[in-house]
Point group: C2
Chain length 381, copies 2
């Protein structure tokens, strides 16, 4: 077990009807918010109404910045930064899924920074400060509601990069499972794949596998994601399954699942970010394609014991091969694609995608070269 | 799954050689610390030296308040409050196990309060503020290093009561598993029992058992405590087992294991506190006696499904009866007593102990009357 430094100051208010609690919390942070959201689903599921009423009742004015895309793009982030400044906002409130929260983090950092916000993503600047951030989560998937990272796509350069820093932890995140009841089946499925991806990345890339406590925690969250998602697929209105899934996805990327692994690396994410930067596919769909192919290569290169450990803890599977099959079967079961062909991504594109991914891998400090990434992508054909 | 509100701002620095990190952290909080410790084991295991050197190197002066007892007593807390004031300390640094940290919390609160510190424990006052607190943990057991509660015994009235509040979260806790390598076998065992007790209390007393994610988390921590303790009993110098146990015990009572259970109650703790208030026995020893007896009554009164769930998740046991036996067998295996007679506590004392426990039960807002507590204690004879 390796040394670690853990702290996570985010306050989570969780459950039925909790969104109005953001009102008094926001009032402590200032008088005017930039309310960031996406395509407007929050106007159908009641989140917009509950949130804006709470803000008004607590004397918090707000400007709106809507239209955040599923893979949030730099141009829209820049527009948000400009609006936050022009409107004199002293906080950001994100209402939506991980993309909305990620864009909100970028805006929160950008609004306090003299240069261009992309500097944080390409490694030119560190996030030193940010406007206070509050979130009302509507899609359990990315964990962004309880961590300090964010991912934005530069649509000109096809770079899907990440930034982070302690200033980007939300102050309060409100998680109402009822807001997820009307999610399209596909989004529920992709959220599950994303949560599984988060929970396994460091588990499988750790340099120190003698870590009973974090291993058990990883198995626990993975089991809960799988069991809850199966219930959701049967009955989308199953509140307790929605609740369990929502909290599981948060726990999958709030730092706990990495304690003692000594770093590791988000290799599946690096490869997937390249796919979604080129094809604008859902992040979860890309991950469901990459993970089984990556796991096959991982098995070839010494990953047998870890795959067996994961299989025993999560699927009741004794073999590494069975573990990979069980992961892929779960992705298929929830309706995610598991091969590039299912998204009509041709073999001829592989070198281009792999070259782009290799740049991310390097930026994130991991070690994998383009030829190896190409191999993984070919295994996913 | 019930609504919940979770936040835990404690920064954990974990691993080999981390204690000096308290130096720069303390320097941010002020210039003079009250260093609180127990019988002096920290002078043998290197913690005192590492800590005081780090304080000196970072310009933090300190006064010492040693001699904290395993069940910390009010008179010693009051002396600590007086010393913190007399010495003009602007922070408290605890170096030791849960008792040292609990006494330190009481001193931190008392030093900022006009009245008597016992007011916080008997419900006369709320903790509104406290001196900043830092901890160097040497015994994995109570979880006090990452929560905001503390327990103190009023030795005049035989009341072992608790207090708490957000001001009592430590700022930084340093957890070096090497500091636990020289723990007596007994203390390792009792720490494991205590951690198991923390992880099960709300699990078994919840009003809402449809909570896959927290159930899985509870099973994960319990499995890790058991597996790690078995390794420690075989080889006390097994670093990874010590590390896994240390982090498990912290996770068992940092708030995560209660999310969504809707309160519940610490019934085994309430009964045990009465035992250790009268007989000054180790808390873990008392718990190992109370838990199996309590679980038997719980089974009689509708607890079958929960016990089965716990058994399946932790022991691979299908029946409730088997689960209780497995818990008791684990306590015996590590050398804890499991009957009152083993500590020479006579049947004649039961009404006195039960009456005292009933007062704690009432103070903590739970529902159990003296006759029922007597039944549990008789089952533990």
């Amino acid at each position: 077990m390796q040394n670690f430094d853990f702290s996570n100051p985010v306050r989570i208010v969780f459950g039925r009807g909790v969104i109005p609690e953001l009102g008094p919390a926001a009032a402590k942070a200032g008088r005017k918010a930039l309310l960031v959201y996406g395509g407007g689903s929050i106007k159908k599921n009641g989140v917009y109404e509950a949130l804006t009423r709470a803000l008004r009742e607590n004397g918090v004015a707000f400007a709106e910045h809507s239209g955040v895309k599923p893979n949030p793009v730099l141009s829209h982030v820049r527009a948000g930064v400009a609006k936050a400044r022009a409107e004199g906002c002293d906080m950001i409130i994100a209402a939506g899924g991980g993309s909305v929260i990620d864009e909100s983090k970028a805006i929160a950092a950008g609004a306090k920074y003299g240069g261009d916000v992309w500097d944080f993503f390409c490694g030119k600047a560190e996030v030193e400060s940010a406007l206070p951030l509050f979130t009302a989560l509507t899609i359990p998937a990315t964990g962004s509601e309880m961590n300090s990272g964010c991912v934005v796509t530069n649509e000109e350069t096809r770079q899907k990069y990440s930034a982070g820093g302690p200033a980007l932890f939300p102050r309060v995140s409100a998680l109402d499972p009822e807001a997820t009841m009307t999610l399209p089946r596909e989004q529920s499925a992709y959220g599950a794949v994303d949560a599984i991806a988060h929970i396994i990345e460091n588990y499988f890339t750790t340099s120190d596998a003698d870590n009973a406590v974090t291993d058990e925690l990883v198995h626990a969250v993975a089991r809960s994601v799988i069991a809850s998602t199966r219930r959701i697929m049967k009955d989308p209105k199953d509140y307790n399954a929605r609740a369990s899934m929502m909290w599981s996805a948060t726990l999958a990327l709030n730092g706990l699942a990495n304690c003692g692994y000594g770093g590791g690396g988000f290799i599946n994410h690096a490869i997937e970010h390249s796919l979604s930067a080129f094809y604008d596919i859902p992040h979860g769909a890309g991950l469901a394609i990459v993970i089984p192919a990556w796991a096959g290569k991982y098995l070839e290169r010494g990953g047998r014991a870890r795959l067996e450990n994961f299989g025993r803890g999560v699927f009741g599977e004794a073999t590494a091969e069975g573990t990979i099959k069980a992961m892929e079967a779960f992705f298929r079961e929830v309706g995610a694609p598991v091969r590039l062909g299912e998204l009509k991504i041709p073999a001829a594109d592989i070198p281009k995608v792999a070259a782009n991914a290799a740049a991310t891998v390097k930026l994130w400090g991991m070690e994998m070269q383009q030829p190896e990434i190409e191999e993984i992508l070919r295994a996913a054909l």
